[in-house]
Amino acid sequence: MSLLRPLSKLPDLNAANVLLVENEEHFQQKLADVMVNEKSVIVQVRLAKSLPLPMKQEKSRPRIDLVVFIVNLMSELSLHSAEASLKHLAPGYFLGKVCFMVTNARNASVPAERMEAVRKLASALNCPLLFAEDQTPDGVTNAAERLLVILRVAAGCVPMTTALFLSNLTRCTISTEAEQQNSDYDA
């Protein structure tokens, strides 16, 4: 039961490692298949159902630059599992190296309360929250593209910027009551 640490290993040259965590192990494979086609950097994708990762591969595992939690809003378990997995990440990851990706957000049967819970979670951890369409190939490609943008930054492959900087712009926030009122009248 060890924490996964962001800086415990040396990075590989021109390589970016992403860890996709998804309880259902369904969307992650599709994403991975698209992401590895990236030409500008060598993308290594590691897939997991939940954290912690097995100790056995500890040595062979490269430094993980970005951890993505995929949450299927249709399933309560999916959210619970992601919440439970978060405990196994070292705090350093939350400086721009974690993001949430939500699927099925458009589905009518998703209770608004669950969406709200994900939002709160993401904003409390200062992580970006991305929405993805997992049913169509286009949706998968789009989602992969978005992840790659963040990944390249997180892996240090983009000059002049850092993960922390990017996350300041992209993190999910929930405004306060007062702001809410204001924006109401602005509209």
Partner: protein
């Protein structure tokens, strides 16, 4: 972002409302939120979700008039309707004729050939009194379509082909008040009959009142809330059993039906409601808190997990039923008992308002 996609003929000026109600805003927001791919849009991310709803005092439950009883008979398919433009409660007779004529003409165009309209149709619009909770709220309208076989005697019973109703129970007064003058808001549409006929009726409403229909699903939180509401009622009116149906995403799909003895379900519910902050007299207040509901369902789920080690939360709740009524995720509802009919409809009205695209 275009807010008026669904409204074609309505004058644009009358739609832009200065004060939008909370629940109204909510529906709008949840759509916006999912559309932007980064969910941080600060202005829209704050939402207020209902945490508890009041179930009315028993005194009100008893006053059920015969017209309302018609609403209890069958299982209804739910839809939401956007506000009706220039709908007049005084013109119901004329609407009856218009709808009948519309159906005949559609039939002649061959559209409705399959719905069995060979015989003469009789359409009736009636008012159902006592459903509206406030002054602003429009009265419920009940529609029936009867068929008259060509060679029948005048006193032969007519065959009921289709029935449906438009209602608003306990809609947000702020929102209702904010509507422009020419609009009547009856957001909940319940239909019973063949799909073909339902489609025809919807088409007529769309043409005549420039409104828009959409399916109204009942999500799991609301289903759970109904389960708790009905269970709460057991002390007064037996619920026979509490039945919950989950659908789990296995291959092939697995359906789990969880039927609980009414007394045990009720005791579990009471055990959750008892703690601390509630005084004795407050027991009568009838409000059903969402947290309590979550706790109730959690209790049921953990009992299940202890035996089967299967995660019900991996799937979704699709159906809740008791002797008082049943509700399905796909938007089918049956109210078998007048207790809590108003409460149930209040919830659904709220859901319909939330679902509306404008």
């Amino acid at each position: 972002m275009d807010r008026h996609t669904s409204v074609a003929r309505t004058p644009v000026s009358s739609v832009v409302v200065q004060r939008r109600s909370k629940s109204h805003r909510l529906s709008y927001r949840s759509n916006v939120g999912t559309m932007s791919h980064l969910g941080y849009t600060p202005g829209f991310s704050k939402r207020r979700l209902t945490t508890s709803r009041l179930a009315p005092k028993h005194s009100r439950i008893t006053e059920v008039n015969p017209e309302q009883l018609a609403l209890l008979v069958r299982e209804w398919q739910l839809s939401y309707v956007t506000p009706l433009y220039r709908f007049r409660h005084g013109q119901l007779k004329s609407y009856s004729r218009q709808l009948a004529a519309f159906m005949v003409s559609e039939q002649q165009q061959g559209v409705a050939a399959e719905v069995g309209l060979e015989s003469a149709l009789k359409v009736s619009f009636t008012l159902v009194a006592g459903m509206a909770q406030t002054e602003e709220e429009a009265n419920t309208v009940f529609i029936q379509i009867h068929s008259k076989p060509p060679f029948s005697a005048p006193d032969d019973p007519q065959k009921l082909l289709w029935s449906g109703w438009l209602t608003s129970v306990g809609g947000n007064p702020d929102y209702l008040r904010s509507l422009p003058e020419d609009f009547v808001c009856l957001p909940l549409f319940c239909s019973g009959g063949t799909e073909g006929l339902t489609a025809l009726v919807k088409a007529w409403f769309q043409q005549t009142f420039d409104c828009c229909f959409g399916p109204l699903e009942i999500n799991s939180v609301n289903l759970q809330w109904l389960a708790a509401l009905w269970t709460d009622c057991h002390a007064r009116s037996s619920i026979k059993q509490l039945k919950l149906v989950w659908s789990l995403p296995a291959e092939p799909p697995l359906e789990v039906t969880y039927t609980v003895h009414p007394q045990d379900a009720w005791e579990l519910w009471r055990s959750i409601r008892q703690p601390g902050e509630r005084g004795g007299e407050e027991e009568e207040d009838g409000s059903v808190g969402l947290e309590e509901v979550a706790c109730f369902i959690k209790g049921l789920k953990s009992h299940f997990y202890r035996h089967f080690r299967v995660e019900l939360s991996a799937g979704r709740l699709t159906q809740v039923s008791t002797a008082l009524g049943s509700a399905k995720h796909g938007g089918r509802l049956k109210i078998s008992n007048s207790s809590y009919m108003i409460t149930t409809l209040t919830l659904l009205t709220e859901c319909a308002l939330l679902k509306m695209p404008i």
